[in-house]
Symmetry: C3
Subunit: 269 residues, 3 copies
């Protein structure tokens, strides 16, 4: 993965301001919208079954996040997802908390079964539970256990026939054949709610401007991780409140040069 | 419009802390509540059909915002709106995304048809779609095209028999007979989600303390624009995260002197 | 109340990262999650009737907040609450706006009647209305009137057979027999939305790591008040936006030494 391509994708997000349709959870809507705006994308949140098909079809990407799912929202996700599939709009899916309750696990499996998803992003426990493996989970912030996250990403990508991104200390993304590790990011991301959810939406912004979806996923992970490092350097020691603000600033002000200088991508055979 | 009257309105908001009942979208609830609190108003969000009539009638203004509308919320808006109308409580309406989907357009038209609205505020595309004109729109952040925004504001005010505010680079507000242009504000407002929605709620705060509703709208637009300029001067170059915080600070700390010194209102014949 | 015990509770929250299940209002979800994360707890928001029983039973505490209640949410609160009661998970209840509308008052009473609640926290008007006393209220931010808040806390604790915390200039907490006053906190807390709601959730975090629930409540009130003082000292003069960020920072960075040095608890006979 050449780093200059990542910077070019970032520039394209800012040039084209892709419309990203989010059906996401109530905890992170504001942070998601502000993060996408800062990056240069155009966020829209729309949930009503009467309009989600219309909104999804004009979007550059559809992001589905089940963080505070309910029946109506799952129904809307399916309608929006089918519209996206019909119109060639990539779907990015975040199975928040899969494994924490049976309802979440079942819903995650239902969505991956009924929709053609371009990228699924979660932590190791969420991905494992989505494909039916047991994995320890505590709430929605479960860290990876001892299992091999790389193997899990590859197995899940093959099982689901999609691109799978598992984020944590090292981010792993695989389409089942090609696998990349991204060594960017910062631990303070775990102290701000919705940083995983926003990352999923940022993947949507990159998928909207880059047809090679695996590349789009890598680009999003690198840019996001670099932004976190820059923001943590500036404000992280003050605490998570200051980090959150610095992170939004950095999404707006970071340059393709920053990506080129700081990006750390490793192709794994 | 004499600028000292605007400063006096600002002082009255802080003196009377009017209760502003918001039925608004899930993206901006926190920012709206914090913005109203900072300014000196008392925000309340209430959505259940069992209570919205009771809440609206004790409020100083009712703000309806359809940013993430659904059937239950539209039903609640109609119940709250009728209660507000019966009790002489001004309604401020924000037709977020009218034109983006048929459902939004229809809902905007339904609300303006069934309720007596004091001020409707949106961008040019939203206002045009609410009155039935075609206008290019992308998501909910559509900028104005080449058409004459002033003419649109006047036409919409006459058509809807209400006060119409169209915000953008220059803000225009008209009751169909008198029209004002406000030359305050800052482009970075477009990089923070919900700044338009909060402005609509701030119009509610001014309408609660100023019986001349057109004047209340002008006062709100000027104060909001001046606050944005002050905040952008302080923090805008750091990025949208810092601007958002500085803007909340400024809503609390700006003075009637700031308004007098920086307000730019033009009466348009 | 020995102050070193309070600092020890704070350290235990950070050591055990208790899972706090919140069914709370849409205005404060993000701030609540970020505040709990900053403090060291693990927040989860889950609302669907299909999963709340499962989530509540694995949580360290269940926090119910009716700030933007609706039928489905009240149903979910009852299901979650019964599960919490069955599994010995403490319930902390915030009757936001009880007294503002009949629906809120009735719902508050229904919840305290049908669930065994460990702590109920509100302002004086909310507590009074929950037990059936008349009390002036304006929206959800009502300050205490002239009545004796201490007497009200004791009476409500006896009436409801639970621990009652009434927060305001001085915080009062009582189980009906023992009563404590906490003289920490800062007025700027009232200029940031959701600071009361977050406090209720923070009480959940302390109740999850301290079996003496009255002590847990006192510990939470002291830590929260000390954090507010530290944050106001650092950023309060800049305005409520900066205070909010400094407050989140302080929840993460404050130490048991800060509590020991600044905590002001008074046992009231």
């Amino acid at each position: 993965m050449e780093l200059h391509r990542i910077g070019e994708s970032l520039d394209r997000v800012r040039q084209y301001n892709p419309l990203i349709h989010n059906i996401t959870n109530v905890v992170v809507t504001n942070f998601t919208a502000n993060g996408l705006l800062a990056l240069g994308a155009s966020p829209v949140m729309a949930y009503a079954k009467q309009e989600v098909a219309d909104m999804a079809k004009i979007a550059g990407a559809l992001v589905l996040n089940m963080g505070t799912l309910n029946e109506l929202e799952v129904e809307a996700m399916l309608i929006a997802g089918k519209s996206a599939n019909e119109h060639g709009v990539p779907i990015i899916f975040d199975p928040v908390g899969a494994g924490a309750t049976p309802y979440r696990t079942e819903t995650a499996r239902k969505l991956v079964n009924e929709l053609a998803i371009s990228i699924i992003r979660g932590n190791a426990a969420e991905i494992a539970n989505t494909i039916g493996e047991e994995w320890q989970i505590k709430g929605v912030d479960a860290g990876a256990g001892e299992k091999d996250v790389i193997s899990l990403a590859i197995a899940a990508a093959k099982h689901l026939q999609t691109i799978v991104a598992i984020t944590g200390k090292t981010d792993v993304i695989s389409n089942g054949e090609k696998t990349y590790l991204i060594h960017n990011g910062h631990p303070i991301l775990t102290k701000v709610t919705g940083t995983g959810c926003l990352l999923t939406s940022v993947m949507g912004a990159f998928a909207a401007v880059e047809k090679d979806t695996l590349a789009a996923g890598v680009h999003a992970l690198v840019c996001y991780g670099v932004a976190a490092e820059l923001a943590a350097h500036k404000a992280g020691q003050e605490g998570p409140g200051s980090f959150q603000i610095a992170f939004l600033n950095t999404l707006a002000t970071m340059t393709s040069d920053d990506v080129h200088r700081m990006g750390k991508v490793e192709r794994r055979k």
